[in-house]
Symmetry: C2
Subunit: 205 residues, 2 copies
């Protein structure tokens, strides 16, 4: 357990936001048992995007576009690049974005997320939600593709709370190693919303 | 309880940041049993400031300057206004800022925080950490003093987890009312770090 379930319920009860496409995505996630970031993290990504006003957001591991949807909604101008290794997911994302009329704010790619992302320069927000064992590799390979004040956001960094297990499994170990790497090499903070969200930027303090 | 104490301990263990003035402030807080936001929230405020690049941050309830210190550190240009009703606190804040060589990034005021803040226009970040029963009044009185994309940040909005009490006391009720008001009138999210931090901005979705 990460957050007291009663608190979690309270936090969820406060969100009264209606959006038919978003609700459709949430129903699909439930039906497929597909992990999505949910409304709390979604609104957080939205607020961060509105505040930062990025020109380019790049997502590694977009699934069918739930987090990308919140980023896109938060863009005044600029683009979000959605990348997933499954064409089926990306096709669904395209459909949802079209239905919401925000397809012009997005680019869609199928392939290895890290390799696809390397074609971009000046990434303002890099969102990590791919295979957990690849987080560290992703940051190392893409750190020269970031803009000066880029924000790195990583999902699932508390891994269902397993980061405090006495005998962590291989995946958990990889996440812990990633967290330590990020705190050593960047200014970082982990927010215990949902499954843990890490925020990081270039070390300046 | 808000967050699993083991997770809390893990999160704290990751912060390896050294700063003699900050450590002095932390020791003073411990000695006086004075509530400060701590390193996790501090680093979060720092990252938000670096990302947003505000011209003016206004704090309601600065204590002896711990949160203000993180804001000031995050400012590339611009100012943070520290306000507290106790002159003794503000004098300590001045000394700490001077010792750290960042006094030129700050303005210091003693008085009723809401009344002092009303003299400012175009506040980019409004930080609420005053008497909890006054949060709602503060936002209502200051909403016309905010800049277009202003970020409102409020501390202690989960109030030691009491927001889920079956029979909440008066102060807890005031905080719950504030949270509901913020989710109704702004785009808001509550992050369960430490005692709960609310982020909000003008409704755009």
């Amino acid at each position: 357990m990460i957050v007291n379930p009663e608190i979690e319920k309270y936090l969820e009860s406060l969100h009264r936001f209606n959006d038919p496409v978003l609700e459709k995505m949430e129903r699909l996630a439930q039906k497929l048992n597909f992990p999505i970031v949910g409304r709390q993290v979604g609104m957080f990504l939205y607020i961060l995007t509105k505040q930062k006003k990025p020109s380019l957001v790049v997502e590694l591991g977009s699934g069918f576009g739930y987090s990308g949807y919140w980023f896109a909604k938060g863009l005044d101008r600029g683009l979000v690049a959605l990348i997933d290794y499954k064409e089926e997911n990306i096709n669904k994302a395209k459909d949802f974005f079209k239905e919401a009329g925000i397809q012009n704010r997005a680019l869609f790619f199928t392939g290895d997320a890290v390799e696809v992302a390397r074609q971009f320069q000046d990434i303002d927000i890099l969102f990590l939600d791919l295979e957990k064992s690849r987080y560290l590799e992703a940051v190392e390979k893409l750190k020269n593709n970031l803009s000066e004040d880029a924000l790195i956001i990583a999902d699932n960094v508390l891994w269902h709370g397993k980061v405090v297990d006495e005998n962590p499994d291989k995946k958990t170990k990889a996440i812990k190693e990633f967290n330590e790497y990020m705190f050593r090499n960047f200014n970082s903070v982990i927010l215990p919303i949902r499954d843990g969200v890490l925020l990081a930027m270039k070390k300046s303090i």
